[in-house]
């Protein structure tokens, strides 16, 4: 029963994404702030993680497929496909759920417990829309870009690791990656990134918005935002892979 209660309240909250803003200027300012927080603020961590995951994937695939009958170019093919289909859109978004999801939830929750949300409400602001729409839009616009960057850097990390350890040359890696590349996988990556962006922002906002209490509840809401976002990202990952592949 509790699931249906939360699901209904979540849908009711998300309905406000379609409300007409009171002031486009204020919304625009908030959207840019969110885009900066989500995009620029997460670029470094996403870059580092993608490079290393690409590199480690190359080393592990080389270790597992070190058979004389298996062509070495297969490493490039597997790293390329895995990065585009799974590592960039899913692993990056799991990291983003931890970084920006907890940030969004705790920001709204803190505003709630310090009466800042009440202050906006008394002024006549549609707080559900003003606090949530810019965050969802900011994530929706920036997370797919971060995922594309993660994909590029993941493959680059694989190339660098392969070349620097003499496992595979750059040419052979790229030959394998190009040979098995399907443009359709890029489409799947984009679908996953938009889905995950919406999951992270909407779940985190929901967890933050209905907080009551103090510091303890703010922390708990932040944790719930990350945990539920991660579970839903993995569930969506499975569903999209099942439906589209």
């Amino acid at each position: 029963m509790e699931f249906f209660y939360h699901f209904g309240r979540y849908i009711y909250l998300m309905k406000n994404l379609f409300s007409k803003p009171e002031s486009w200027v204020m919304y625009k300012r908030e959207i840019f702030r969110q885009m900066n927080d989500v995009g620029v603020g997460s670029l470094a961590i996403i870059s580092i993680i993608s490079l290393f995951i690409g590199a480690v994937t190359t080393l592990q695939i080389a270790y597992q497929l070190s058979e004389p009958l298996v062509p070495i170019t297969i490493i490039g093919a597997i790293v390329g496909e895995t990065t585009i289909l799974e590592l960039a859109p899913t692993i990056s978004c799991l990291v983003l759920a931890g970084k920006i999801g907890s940030n969004m939830a705790s920001e709204i929750a803190t505003m709630r417990v310090t009466e800042q949300v009440d202050a906006m409400e008394v002024m006549g602001v549609n707080v559900k829309s003003f606090l949530i729409t810019p965050k969802v839009l900011g994530a929706f616009l920036m997370i797919p870009i971060l995922v594309v960057i993660a994909g590029f850097l993941g493959v680059s990390g694989g190339v660098l690791a392969g070349a620097s350890t003499d496992i595979i040359t750059v040419d052979k890696f790229m030959l394998g990656a190009r040979e098995f590349f399907k443009g359709y996988t890029l489409f799947i990556m984009v679908v996953k990134s938009f889905t995950n962006a919406f999951i992270i922002a909407s779940i985190s906002c929901y967890q933050g918005f209905y907080v009551r209490g103090g510091a303890l509840e703010v922390g708990a809401s932040s944790t719930r935002a990350v945990v539920y976002s991660c579970i839903l990202i993995l569930f969506a990952d499975f569903l999209i892979s099942y439906l589209f592949l």
Binding site: Q116, A119, V122, G124
Partner: protein, 251 residues
């Protein structure tokens, strides 16, 4: 003028407001007093629509707020200014952006220069000129309260609500805040409702005092009548401090 007509509110079958009625005139400082848990905060939050009442009516100059739709309430709320207990300033915005927030949201017709002038005017009114660019975290508690008041009056509100305006402030700063609220009430003819348990405020600016006890209105009067009310619960509340007990005994 704001009228409360038999408002009731319960949380999980526990009655918090048990039928409160009163009238708050415009241009007056109306004080809601009572012990912690008496229902003051629930009353004031019900009046601004942050809590939905179970029954009764809340009338803003005859307009029944409690029976209004969401959009109708939003219109009334733009005539309301509110100072919160802990100021509730938006901590990611500067002082100027905080005060300007309602103008940016609802006054598209105003130019940036007009808004800046209005912010400066409000900061002058609360005796805080020149702090426009500071962040709320850089201000003392008293200064934050004054910025909260400036934000509450920036929209030229007809109704001004103050929830525990003196909490966490020293007695001297409390008097400054009280005098500020009083002078703004007189200057802008607002219907001001202050929720407090500070007896200094009652004796200083209590033009109309409503004493709440256990979710009910126990007494109503003004600051001159409050000491000699003859109401046992009110006397216990007023003379709870040793200082006033000694004063009463003539020591």
């Amino acid at each position: 003028m704001i009228q409360l007509k038999d408002i009731k509110k319960a949380f999980d079958s526990k009655a918090i407001l048990k039928g409160i009625s009163s009238t708050f005139e415009s241009g007056n400082c109306n004080l809601l007093i009572g012990q912690s848990g008496a229902g003051k905060t629930v009353t004031i939050k019900s009046m601004v629509g942050l809590i939905d009442i179970d029954s009764g009516d809340i009338l803003y100059d005859g307009r029944n707020f409690s029976a209004m739709s969401f959009s109708e309430r939003q219109a009334i709320r733009r005539e309301i200014g509110m100072l919160f207990q802990h100021s509730a300033l938006f901590d990611s915005y500067s002082v100027e952006e905080n005060i300007k927030f309602p103008l940016d949201m609802f006054h598209k017709e105003m130019s940036a220069a007009e808004k800046k002038d209005r912010v400066d005017f409000c900061l002058e009114k609360v005796n805080l000129p020149g702090v426009n660019k500071k962040m709320p975290s850089e201000l003392s508690g008293g200064m934050q309260k004054r910025v909260g008041i400036a934000r509450a009056i920036v929209n030229n509100p007809k109704y001004l609500f103050c929830d525990e305006p003196n909490s966490g402030l020293d007695p001297k700063t409390s008097i400054v805040i009280d005098e500020l609220i009083y002078s703004l009430t007189k200057e802008f003819k607002t219907t001001t409702i202050i929720n407090t348990h500070d007896m200094n405020s009652v004796m200083g600016i209590g033009e109309h005092v409503v004493y709440l006890h256990d979710g009910k209105k126990h007494w109503e009067g003004n600051k001159d009548q409050v000491i000699h009310s003859g109401n046992k619960a009110l006397d216990e509340f007023i003379f709870a401090s040793k200082f006033l007990q000694n004063l009463k005994k003539g020591n």
